[in-house]
Symmetry: C2
Subunit: 207 residues, 2 copies
Amino acid sequence: MSRPSPKWRRRKEARPGEIVAAALEVFAERGFAAARTDDIARRAGVSKGVIYLYFATKQDLFRAVVRDAVTPNLAVVEAAVAGVDLPFSSTARVMLSVLTEVMATSQLGSVAKMVIAESGNFPDLALIWHEDVVSRALGLAARHIEQAQAKGEVRPGDPRIHAFSLVGPVLTGVLWREVFAPVGVPSFDLKAIAEQHIETALEGLIP
Amino acid sequence: MSRPSPKWRRRKEARPGEIVAAALEVFAERGFAAARTDDIARRAGVSKGVIYLYFATKQDLFRAVVRDAVTPNLAVVEAAVAGVDLPFSSTARVMLSVLTEVMATSQLGSVAKMVIAESGNFPDLALIWHEDVVSRALGLAARHIEQAQAKGEVRPGDPRIHAFSLVGPVLTGVLWREVFAPVGVPSFDLKAIAEQHIETALEGLIP
DNA sequence: TCTTACTAACTGACCCGTCAGTTATTTCAT
DNA sequence: ATGAAATAACTGACGGGTCAGTTAGTAAGA
């Protein structure tokens, strides 16, 4: 009996990430107020006190969840269309399929739901989300649309509203999945929405 | 001084509606869990006990809020396009402008936000919302699109995804307003989005 | 043996739901 | 008509449960 396996291990470096991951799950399921720190701790495999070694308050933890989910995805879409100079139809296709891929594989959908839900209680988060994600993505799309309009490749009109026309259906599909999939309503395939919609957006519904 | 004005009046019929209206405000601002029944009561001009004369629990009140906000708006969009047999482009225009009008003037935007936020905690509400609102509206649009496809007026493709293409940008605009307007980010005019987008959806972005 | 990551029991604030008491309104007797 | 008795809408203080955050003590690791 050299060593009985310990009841727990000291893992200072791994804890914060594990706690944030567990918190994302619980916050996404229950919302901020109804999420219990005990549940988050249990799901992260630690006791509640550990949370408060790494995060000052539950609110801080929530902010960290949003930040960590957003940050790595920020650059992806931007990088995908940076510096390319293709016809607008190609650029638009790339933008929408990359956005769809990111929304489908990352946790951005859950986080978006959380930000929508808690915008009233966390105005600062709504602002950060706007500045770091929404306005950036919308601005990127609008800029490309504006350039294409200058070349006569896209019809006149507010380029930011054109951006809405482009991404709105996919975002609606993401929220559909977040809300209805857990209660058993069949979801739409995001990729199918994106692929059919990009044709509609470019060519119109009328043949 | 025949009668000193009373501290309160008995208004059995008016109370439930006033309480639901106040609850909608507070729930929309704070979310279900963070909303305090005391606040709702104060805003309705009654004491907290009155809430429990008319509603069994806070959850019941929440359900009543969602039901009452949905019910009167259900028929409006359906009525607008029932029995008409116009070219698809006209039908689509009517559908989208009526939907936009309803979303802009009613409380459906706030309620949608609440349902998104609390779908995890109130699966029954998510189901009701799906059956009574979303699936009905989507089915209505999809049916019209299908008929138009049969006449060759609309390109092939999943009619329900085509419906997403039609309404997605407006719904995105509604949520934008719900989330960002309270924190000072300028909103888009829903009508402007609808009017520009319907052209895009019908004719495409490419001239 | 000493440091510290971690546990688990604890505290205190908060808030839902209750209920004993209060007051507006109605009904009934005169 | 008029006041007294009955009814029921309403108030507001409080009990009790829940949960965020704290801390005394334990065990891992060096």
